[in-house]
């Protein structure tokens, strides 16, 4: 089966005055259709760069990203993105935010409302459909952003540390909810985080990256069944994988040059 997302030797350089800096070096990755991959790594490992290139918000210096076999050449509604800062439109209500992408697609008002309500209910914001974002908590804002991304029916969801700004408790709740949503509305998900627990809990595979230059370090499969539960989170299998990822992320000295 053809992979959903292909990163083919993606390199990205940034020019800083007269010297250039390699944010991402020949990044190679295949993501299968319907798969949930998480990407972890120290800051500066290029994980956000990779995601932005897949979203089409950033152009690669070399190589290309293909989604469904087609090279990415700019943002498109088939690739939804969720940001750490929520990025809701504060002057619109929850429902209007969720309808934003549908409106751009030119969807008629009735269908728009129906779809928006479906996804608002799916993320559990049914009672807040007419509320303005300023009245919502951080977790609710992010749920609204997730509903907004889902509403335009993307086949790929790109998530850039979506739960990074939330407290630990809310984060765990949203992880469960995200997995639940993902099971009901299956999409290919690429999820960036710097939280090792989160990476293991959510993923089919954890992609560990290394910094300077940002590159792929290791791919660690997570062979734990879904639905993931508290029991799994506390199991010894989980801990073993978590430790493996932890080591891959935090003990990168000495392995820095092995590929060069």
């Amino acid at each position: 089966m053809q992979p959903k997302i292909v990163f083919e030797n993606v390199t990205r350089r940034f020019d800083l005055g007269h010297q250039s800096f390699v944010a991402l070096d020949r990044f190679l990755l295949d993501v299968a259709d319907g798969e949930f991959v998480t990407v972890v790594g120290p800051s500066g490992c290029g994980k956000s760069t990779a995601l932005n290139i897949a979203a089409g918000l950033l152009a690669p210096s070399e190589g290309e990203v293909r989604v469904d076999g087609k090279a990415v050449e700019g943002p498109g509604p088939e690739r939804g993105m969720i940001f750490q800062q929520y990025a809701l439109f504060p002057w619109l209500t929850v429902r209007q935010n969720v309808e934003f992408g549908l409106r751009i697609k030119g969807e008629p008002a009735v269908g728009r409302r129906e779809k928006a309500d479906y996804f608002i209910n799916l993320v559990g914001l049914g009672d807040f459909a007419d509320a303005l974002p300023k009245t919502l908590s951080g977790g609710m804002k992010q749920r609204c952003a997730i509903a907004r991304a889902y509403a335009v029916d993307p086949s790929v969801l790109l998530m850039d540390e979506p739960f990074g700004a939330l407290d630990a408790l809310t984060r765990v709740q949203l992880q469960d909810q995200l997995l639940d949503t993902w099971r009901r509305e299956r999409r290919t998900v690429m999820f960036i985080t710097h939280d090792v627990d989160e990476a293991v809990y959510l993923a089919n595979r954890v992609i560990v990256m290394a910094a300077r230059p940002g590159r792929l370090k290791e791919i660690i499969p997570v062979e734990l069944p879904y639905p993931r539960t508290e029991e799994i989170r506390l199991s010894s299998e989980f801990t073993a994988i978590r430790n493996r990822v932890w080591h891959a992320v935090y003990h990168q000295q000495g392995t820095q040059r092995e590929e060069n």
């Binding site: 979203a55 089409g56 918000l57 943002p75 498109g76 509604p77 690739r79 939804g80 993105m81 940001f83 800062q85 990025a87 809701l88 439109f89 504060p90 002057w91 619109l92 934003f100 992408g101 751009i104 697609k105 303005l132 974002p133 300023k134 952003a145 907004r148 991304a149 335009v152």
Partner: protein, 117 residues
């Protein structure tokens, strides 16, 4: 003008990216994201502009007009008509205040969505 410019350049880049990944093109982003996001700044500009426009108008009338409150005051001064001077002064003040309050009300209505700390 300056306030509007400041408003436009301070529109959150992530918000624009969010619109782009939802399929918005430049014109849509301008109309549906940049304009609403800068509305508070635009209104501040309008308020400051209104204040100075009003002051300038009255001053201009004092110097070189054939009608208007400023002109009337100038005439009254000529004839030492204190009552007219004071009535004009108060009217100028009240009209200025009324316009400002009206704008403030409009601003409140248009920016209810803003998070105020």
């Amino acid at each position: 003008m300056v306030a509007t410019y400041q408003g436009v350049i301070s529109v959150d880049k992530t918000m624009i990216n969010a619109a782009r990944v939802l399929g918005a093109k430049d014109l849509t982003i301008f109309l549906r994201v940049i304009i609403p996001a800068s509305t508070p700044f635009i209104l501040v500009g309008v308020r400051i502009g209104l204040g100075s426009a009003w002051a300038t108008l009255v001053a201009a009338e004092l110097i070189a007009a054939q009608t208007g409150l400023g002109y009337r005051m100038q005439q009254a001064q000529l004839y030492y008509d204190l009552a007219t001077i004071f009535v004009s002064l108060i009217t100028i003040g009240l009209l200025g205040l009324a316009m400002d309050r009206l704008l403030l009300a409009v601003e409140r209505r248009l920016t209810v969505w803003q998070e105020r700390v």
